[in-house]
Amino acid sequence: MTTIAGERIPRHGIRILAIWLVLTAISVPLIVWVLGPHLPPPHMTVESGDQRNANIVMTALLFPIALLVLTYFIYSFVFFRETSDGIVDGPPIKGHAGAQLLWIVLTSTIVLALAVWGSYTLLAGAHGAGGGQGPDPAAKPPGWQNALPVQVIGQQWEWTFRYPTYGGIETRDLAIPDNTLVAFHVTSIDVTHSFWAYQLGVKADAVAGVDNIAYVHTRHTGFFQIRCAELCGLWHGHMSKKGRVLASSAFQSWIAAAQKKNASIVKYLPKYSRVYYPAPLRRAG
């Protein structure tokens, strides 16, 4: 059935756009100001704050896109459905060059803007965004030479931590000072793990033979959750513990106590190194 000339066609496009604009005008402020502060991760560090901002921006940008498509679909289900039982053909419209061009231009613009913005925040703004950057980080934050190095060693199924600037002691608890640039040097002595400190916004794979570096600036004290984010065998789910961001003075006394406790055993540890190569363990489970 083709459209009869002169028949009044409702202005579907205008209606859909109007509904969408109203929904968007309501939802975007809600996303930014109501949902936004609750989006992860909690910002204990500058980097996790940047990640949350990325999540807010993307939610606020992508939700209207979803809304547009959904509004259109639901509108078409209501107004473009066949009400009779028969099979009636619709108007034979095969395409519209202008609409296609507009769609391509719009989606390309959004995508390129996202990619440019993402690259900028990654390299210049957030300096790696808390992610593991490998042994030679591409984005080094200012003052990276003076960052506090903390080595994170993954093994089946435990995390341990070494402080090379405090005599290379090894602890089972992780504590880092507040308002400090910390460089996590993540490595593994067996299979691949992934060091995930949720509230710090840190995730870096622990790979045998690789020193995977992630930078964070701490800015709040408190506890943070450590987990393993890469399947590493039987007790993968149990590689979780709590770490602490301590005020600077509290950290000094904590590390002094840890050094004292470690003094008698530190000589039995392997010498501090960026990576360790224990003999490969086969068929462990």
Binding site: P92, W103, D205
Partner: protein
């Protein structure tokens, strides 16, 4: 068509002897023991061939001989041996006869399609059962239902089974069955290879299931290398079954490419090719180019495990990054191997039920080919925090986000096709429309994962898990069920019950979303994947998800009930063209004759000319015969 006259039927036990599935199974098991024994003999006296507690050489040899025995028992050796002895090849119409042809080597593409449908379907339901068992464990935040090792085996079996099976989910049943009919051909380009691609699938599935008996799999479907080196003999089953599946995928790709490129009927120009066939072509290119990489990666794992090489062992000069790169170089095209056929199916069904031409046909083709090309350039987004090539991250971020442009074309096609349409909400149409809802959420959540700062939190968490279930289950599996309801009347000749179909759809759609949408939140709230214990604060969320997942399971039972009810009890013969579709596959009789067409048809018009005034019929089925004979 040429039914061979059947004389007196021999007794049933006599008919079981011959080249069929049963013989294949017997020879396969016999081959396994023979191979394991030979492997044992080979390894004796060579300590480097033996691990600390097992001889992997024997296990691999066992599987290899088992597969050979399975294929010989099915009759795959008959043709080459017969040709060597100078016997004439068997013609396809000698393979007809009773239902037993579904359990034998058969080179009819329609038989292979139905074999695929039920074969893959069985493994799909086993994989789904694994998911139900996993959700039972996750009802409580501590270990309760299964020991940790069994839980990990469930995770790995579910993942591997589903990825392996869903790779063949659409190209297997519907690609094999309908592509030759849709392009006006009588068969596939390589019918014996086509049969081989199917019979490798049950072999791979059974080998994978055998992992349960050999200590399970602890690595998930990704099988990351140093962990895979440690695994017990179940890991060998994983390696072997993935090799078989990858060989099958490669051959499927080559076969379908050759068929589509060379066997189109006269008049079937590239712009008249049904969009489903375009999507199959794009997928075939991906399969033929990506799956061999998986074979290579798996052979290296096999060498590491069986012969103590060290491709992936860091302390003796290997690198697990090599495995990650090889695996994801296959693995990311693989996810588009899963997605593209779904695009094709929903775009194939939309014009039929919207009664309008497919809007922007060329754009849809460009979108699919664009996805094909770009999908080879994005794999390192799985490795953003792995510590390799940090300087390359902006590049992979860009390519990953670029791939959403051609994917978006598919949405524009749907939007244009629905514009002022006359939509009929049949069961297949409901599945097709749900595809767009699910894939929209799946696709947009992927944008979070492509952005490195956001990915640092979401990588390896339940967010990723929810994302790919939205694209694979919400996309591919919904498209699959749409295709089942759309095409099964043509394939099996019986109508499916519409009411049961709608109950299946609504339960599946609603509870699919109730299952997986909360898992985005679980990922945002610090829950890593593949754990059997989690933070107690997330228990309520997980109970809700498990309960919803059980309803998905229930909806699948309703689907099975519908199949049994409609195919066994009601047996209402389907109309030749129940949807009033213009597709060429609907213009042939039901059941489809063995050679599909009496004469190769001449294609006279595109398949989506709905509402076009004076549109010619889609094809001339008796070219050169009486004018305007029609059907």
């Amino acid at each position: 068509m040429s039914a061979t006259p059947i004389a007196a039927q021999p007794p049933v036990w006599r008919r079981l002897i011959g080249f069929n599935m049963l013989t294949g199974l017997v020879l396969g098991i016999g081959g396994w023991f023979l191979g394991a024994w030979i492997g044992g003999q080979v390894a004796v006296g060579h300590p480097y061939l033996q691990g600390t507690d097992q001889n992997d050489v024997g296990i691999y040899m066992g599987y290899l001989f088992g597969v050979i025995g399975w294929l010989v028992g099915l009759g795959f050796a008959n043709y080459p041996i017969g040709r060597l002895l100078g016997r004439p090849p068997t013609l396809r119409h000698h393979e007809t006869g009773s239902w037993t042809r579904y359990f034998r080597l058969c080179t009819d593409h329609k038989v292979v399609g139905i074999q695929y449908l039920f074969g893959v379907g069985i493994f799909f339901f086993i994989g789904g059962l694994n998911a139900m068992l996993m959700r039972t464990e996750l009802l409580r935040p501590v270990e309760q239902a299964w020991p940790a090792s069994q839980y990990l085996t469930l995770v790995s079996l579910h993942g591997t089974m589903m990825i392996m099976m869903t790779s063949a989910f659409i190209l297997g049943p519907f690609g094999n069955y309908f592509v030759p009919i849709m392009i006006g051909a009588r068969r596939m380009a390589f019918p014996r290879i086509e049969a081989l691609t199917f019979w490798l699938v049950p072999a791979a599935g059974l080998i994978l299931l055998s992992a349960i008996a050999f200590g399970g799999i602890a690595t998930g479907w990704t099988g990351y290398a140093p962990l895979a080196d440690e695994g017990r003999a179940g890991m060998d089953a994983y390696v072997m079954s993935f090799i078989l599946i990858a060989i099958s995928l490669t051959l499927v790709g080559i076969n379908l490419m050759a068929t589509i490129l060379t066997m189109r009927a006269p008049g079937m120009s590239w712009t008249r090719l049904p969009i489903f066939v375009w999507s199959v072509l794009a997928t075939s290119i991906l399969q033929a180019l990506a799956a061999p990489v998986l074979v290579a990666a798996m052979l290296m794992v096999l060498m590491d495990r069986a012969a103590n090489t060290s491709f992936f062992v860091a302390s003796v000069g290997g690198s697990q990054y090599l495995y990650e790169n090889l695996f994801w170089f296959f693995g990311h095209p693989e996810v588009y191997i899963l997605a593209l056929p779904g695009f094709g199916i929903v775009l194939e069904m939309l014009p039929v039920f919207a009664r309008k031409p497919l809007w922007g046909y060329r754009l849809a083709v460009a979108g699919m080919l664009g996805v094909t090309l770009l999908s080879f350039m994005v794999w390192q987004h799985h490795l953003f925090v792995s510590g390799m090539n940090a300087g390359l991250r902006p590049f992979y971020m860009l390519t990953t986000e670029l791939i959403s442009i051609p994917t978006g074309f598919i949405f524009l096609n749907a939007i244009g096709t629905l514009w002022r349409a006359r939509i009929r909400f049949t069961v297949p149409m409901l599945f097709a429309l749900a595809f767009f809802f699910n894939f929209l959420i799946g696709g947009l959540s992927g944008v979070f994962l492509s952005d490195v700062p956001s990915d640092v939190t979401t990588h390896g968490s339940y967010f990723v898990m929810a994302h790919f279930h939205y694209t694979i289950v919400g996309g591919l599996v919904f498209a699959f069920f749409g295709a089942v309801y759309y095409w099964l009347p043509k394939m099996l000749g019986f109508e499916l019950n519409e009411t049961l179909g709608k109950i299946h759809f609504w339960l599946f759609f609603v509870f699919f979303n109730l299952t997986f949408f909360p898992l985005f939140a679980a990922g945002f709230l610090d829950m890593p994947r593949r754990v059997s214990t989690y933070a107690p604060s997330l228990q309520t969320l997980n109970i809700f998800v498990s309960a919803s997942a059980y309803v998905i399971g229930l909806s699948m039972l309703i689907f099975i009930a519908n199949l049994i009810w409609s195919l066994v009890f009601v047996r209402q013969p389907a109309a030749e063209n129940p949807w009033a579709s213009r597709g060429l596959e609907w213009q042939v009789p039901t059941p489809v004759p063995i050679e599909n067409f009496d004469r190769i048809p001449v294609i006279t018009s595109g398949p989506y000319e709905y509402g076009v005034p004076n549109a010619p019929p889609v094809a001339d089925f008796a070219p050169g015969a009486l004018p305007a004979a029609g059907r």
